[in-house]
Subunit: 171 residues, 2 copies
């Protein structure tokens, strides 16, 4: 199944979560077993073969990261909003349009020498993905690349990323 | 890899998210590629072969549901907290110890005749799982069974479920 077919399953939802934003709804891909399988293989093809852990960003990143980790038989590390992970964490803040937010990872989730790929559904402003990169590197892991289903080019998220990345679809 | 080995990777975290609660942290399973793969296969073995969609409850259910859907090559439907899904939804409320909460599903995520399995990491009080069952059935889907990694028997969640269910580990 081609990326073009998968792309046309994504629904644009205007004014969500707030006026002026066009939300990219990927749930129709997930609900379509064949499309979800094909998307997972397309994403997995972009992951370097020496990866040992996928790092997935809450919460749609969990869905894509889990499927890819399962496909590649590698481990999955979850990066969450503050207060969600139960044990000792590292935290990285990032700027939002107004104010800031943060991401956390368990401090023992990665080790020196881990080779990771950061995964999320959308690269928008790049704040969360860049924070995830910093979390991995503070622990001593090597970020091989980041992989996104979609990149919203107008928001220039690529400028915030320190390491290589790939997006399957650019809008 | 046996369920006993997978079970001993789960970490008990006392007093999280609040005093008196012992949180069951499954992240060490996910981070261990071989254990995560084995867990996915153990979960998938409990899914009837005539399933066509896995229904995953936010947010750790997303991880397990996605891996199992990928393994079985079936679709994935996500059930989320209110306000997270962008299009028209159905909502079901459930009681908490103090107050209530709710879950939503896109109203077009399931169809009459879909055969679904509800999936989450933990069956505790059963409120969320029972709400997910009701959402599926309101749309006309058949809930074949629910599958949980873990059941906390003392919380009697099984009494709230209308349909069959299975849990890999009982604590």
């Amino acid at each position: 199944m081609t990326l073009e077919y998968i792309h046309q399953l994504i629904r644009d939802v205007p004014d969500f979560p707030k006026p002026g934003i066009v939300f990219k709804d990927i749930t129709p891909i997930l609900e379509h077993g064949e499309a979800f399988g094909a998307l997972t293989r397309h994403l997995a093809e972009r992951v370097p073969t020496n990866v040992n852990k996928i790092v997935a960003i809450e919460s749609r990143g969990f869905i894509l990261g889990s499927a890819v980790a399962q496909h590649l038989r590698c481990g999955l590390v979850i990066v969450r909003k503050p207060g969600k992970l139960p044990r000792a964490t590292l935290r990285e803040s990032y700027d939002l349009e107004y104010g800031s937010d943060a991401l956390e990872v368990h401090e023992d989730a990665l080790r020196l020498g881990d080779r990771v790929v950061v995964m999320d559904d959308v690269l928008a402003t790049g704040g969360t993905a860049a924070a995830a990169e910093r979390l991995c590197e503070r622990i001593g892991a090597q970020v091989l690349t980041s992989v996104f289903l979609m990149e919203i080019e107008a928001l220039c998220g690529r400028e915030k990323l320190k390491n290589p990345f790939v997006s399957l679809i650019r809008v």
